[in-house]
Amino acid sequence: MATPKKEIPRVGVFVCHCGINIGGVVKVSEVVEFAKTIPDVAYAEANLYTCSSEGISKIKEAIKKYNLNRVVVASCTPRTHEPLFRNACEEAGLNKYLFEMANIRDQCSWAHMHEPEKATTKAKDLVKMAVAKARLLEPQDEPEIDVTPSALVIGGGISGMTAALSMANQGFNVNIVEREPELGGMLAKLHMLCPNFEDASKALSSIVDAVKSNQKINVLTSSEVEDVKGFIGNFDVTVKKDDKPLKLNQGTIVVATGAENFEPINMYGYKSNENVLTQMQLEKLLKTGDLRKPDKVVMIQCVGAREEKGRQYCSRICCGVAIKNALIIKDLYPETELFIIFRDLQTYGQEYEACYTEAREKGVHFIKYTSSNPPEVSSNSEGKLTIKTYDAFLKEMVELESDLVVLSTPLIPQKDAEKLSKILKVPLGSDGFFFEAHVKLRPIDFATDGIFVCGSAHSPKDISESISQALGVASRAAIPMANKHVRADAITSIINEDLCSGCGTCVRICPYGAIQKNEIGIAQVTSVVCKGCGTCAASCPEKAITMRHFTDDQITAQALAALEG
């Protein structure tokens, strides 16, 4: 490979009109002429759409014709278009890391539409800054790593079992680690399932049987994950089963640890009055057939959820669950009067909405309260319950007597979610649930490669949503396992061993555990674990760390170019 540092940079600059998106504000021809005057720019041209197939071939032609060794495209944002232009470079025989973008649309023409002069000046500066960085860019390699075709699934609820079955059916070995002595998770405690009133035990046994009889799946119950080292393709996992350690080598990891149900201690007389239950306790009474006929049942929604401070999120499932159980009671005891006291009803989707309509038709009463006026529950000496609540439609206080009060409480994160998040080095969100890489674009990946999340471990969900995610996760995890290898990120840090004093600051700072000290006390980066944030480089007391593709020199050159002239 050519030594890039000695090579004289020959930068090609391609300025995009983006139709009128850029061209209607920024004087593109002026920017092109200006670009030609920047040191080391060997070629510059304007394109109507640089990202069109015509624009792409022009880049490739120019690279060959003018012997370009760096490319700058001034157009939209690298967050969407960098991969496309990088590919173009690669196809023309240029390492794709010798490419840089100037964002003159999203961060210029669109944001300064009424100031064409100033927008043009800014566009020139952005091009100059991109060229300043491009001149210093170096080619990078993306190392290849082998992937063990076996997956670890943590949690044997409906999500974990579904993901495991799907991966096993694709031919991969799977280990399920379940903390409890039995598979099933929360589903094992439920009576019937909304929205289709299926028997929960039947749904459970069919999947448990399929899992247990699958040759590719190894079920480890009464087990927990103790330690995880390594990276995608090669996770070294220590599982504790019946207090004995067990070592596993795994290619990918699925987090399917589910959630707990909130216990509303000291709320609405829960625990002090035995006729105040949670939906979970009601499920049990229904399942065992122990619910005696009540004259009246009052359900209260959002108990411990959507709080102003503390648990702010909506648990999604509780409205559906309340309506489900109300309909089941109506079916058992048609004379029983049912009230659901809610703040806002989240019966999203066709099926849940249909359940809601059915409940209304069958005479379930719905009363809306407001967060500033929550219901109050009191009991008299005979244990009869009185519920006082504000009715937001009548705009007045109403009072109900009831035999039973059922509290709809949210799904909350597992108590040990934080411990697991530390073992796996994956984050929890502000609500304490596992946090995905990107809310829209990567909803079931973690930022760490090879680790995925599904089901209510990620956020409150019903079973069909959990299953969809579990199937999604199974196919995401299958990609590297089917390919048998992955390419690691090139944007990682490297340590200059001559400068490293072994102080260990980087070891402590790295959120992924990618840096360790070697035998002689010098820091060493495991590149495949490094995610490229660069915090280590910015913090190293000896400035012994270089961040590839975002070096000190490159960043400073880019910033200072903004101040020239």
């Binding site: 964002n103 669109w110 944001a111 539409m113 502000s430 480089a537 910015a538 000896e542 101040l563």
Partner: protein, 257 residues
């Protein structure tokens, strides 16, 4: 001509840079003074970058990262915050207005917030006027001070304290004790002051060998202050005696890595 401040922004790829893109996509208009440098994480922003940018005459530097808890890299933004805290203290020593450097959180969905913050910052810097070290006649004293500040920000001890702040405050240290936050803040500002003074002395002697008396005059420090620091700096091998004039030693800087 009206003053058009030069503002450099250092933005993280995942939240704030995406927020800036969204402002554009939503056609929210804001002043065109800012020039954005994209980094992967706000934690990547070395205090050096900011000081270097200010030394080269930027009127303002705006650092933006993900909201606490939202960092793509878990907590790079908290490191950025600690660095900013250190820098504010350090810049305040130099005579440059510390508010020329500013840190804000912007999420990927906060296009409007991004535009608003840029507008506010640009307005503030416009009111503040040009950086005293920009233009034809830069303020030499402040420039010298900033150069000393840059050396200070590169100091081993300071970088260790800033890099390990969370660990020191939240986890137990080798002796099984936590350092209270106030104690650490004290330690940090003490380290900033001392290192800054030493670097001013060092930089001054780099240009010209001087006596203690002359140093104290030029740097506006007490002779006692200068002397104490010189003793330490000699031990560290940063300074040496170039010659003796009568009975007065004349000091010079020595090459250090």
């Amino acid at each position: 001509m009206e003053f058009e401040p030069k503002i450099v922004g250092f933005l993280c790829n995942w939240c704030s840079y995406a927020g800036a893109d969204l402002a554009g996509v939503s056609r929210i208009q804001y002043p065109p003074n800012i020039r954005i440098v994209r980094v992967m994480c706000s934690g990547r922003i070395d205090p050096d970058f900011i000081l270097e940018t200010l030394i080269h005459g930027a009127d303002g530097v705006l650092v933006m990262g993900c909201h606490p808890g939202d960092c793509h890299y878990i907590e790079g933004n908290l490191h950025a915050e600690r660095k900013a805290k250190m820098l504010r203290n350090l810049i305040a020593e130099t005579g440059l207005e510390p508010e020329r450097m500013h840190l804000e959180w912007v999420s990927a969905s906060e296009g409007a917030r991004f535009a608003q913050l840029v507008k506010e910052f640009t307005d503030r810097i416009t009111k503040l006027g040009p950086s005293p070290i920009s233009g034809e006649n830069p303020n030499k004293v402040i420039l010298e001070n900033l150069l000393a500040a840059k050396r200070t920000a590169g100091d081993f001890r300071l970088r260790v304290i800033v890099g390990r702040e969370r660990e020191l405050v939240e986890d137990k240290n080798a002796y099984g004790e936590k350092v209270p936050q106030e104690k650490l803040d004290e330690l940090l500002s003490e380290a900033i002051k001392t290192e800054y003074t030493r670097n001013r002395i060092y930089n001054m002697l780099e240009k010209e060998s001087l006596s203690v008396r002359e140093l104290s005059k030029r740097l506006d420090l007490s002779t006692q202050d200068v002397l104490t620091n010189i003793v330490v700096m000699r031990k560290k091998g940063m300074l040496g005696v170039e010659r003796i004039e009568g009975t007065t030693p004349i000091y010079m800087s020595l090459e250090v890595r």
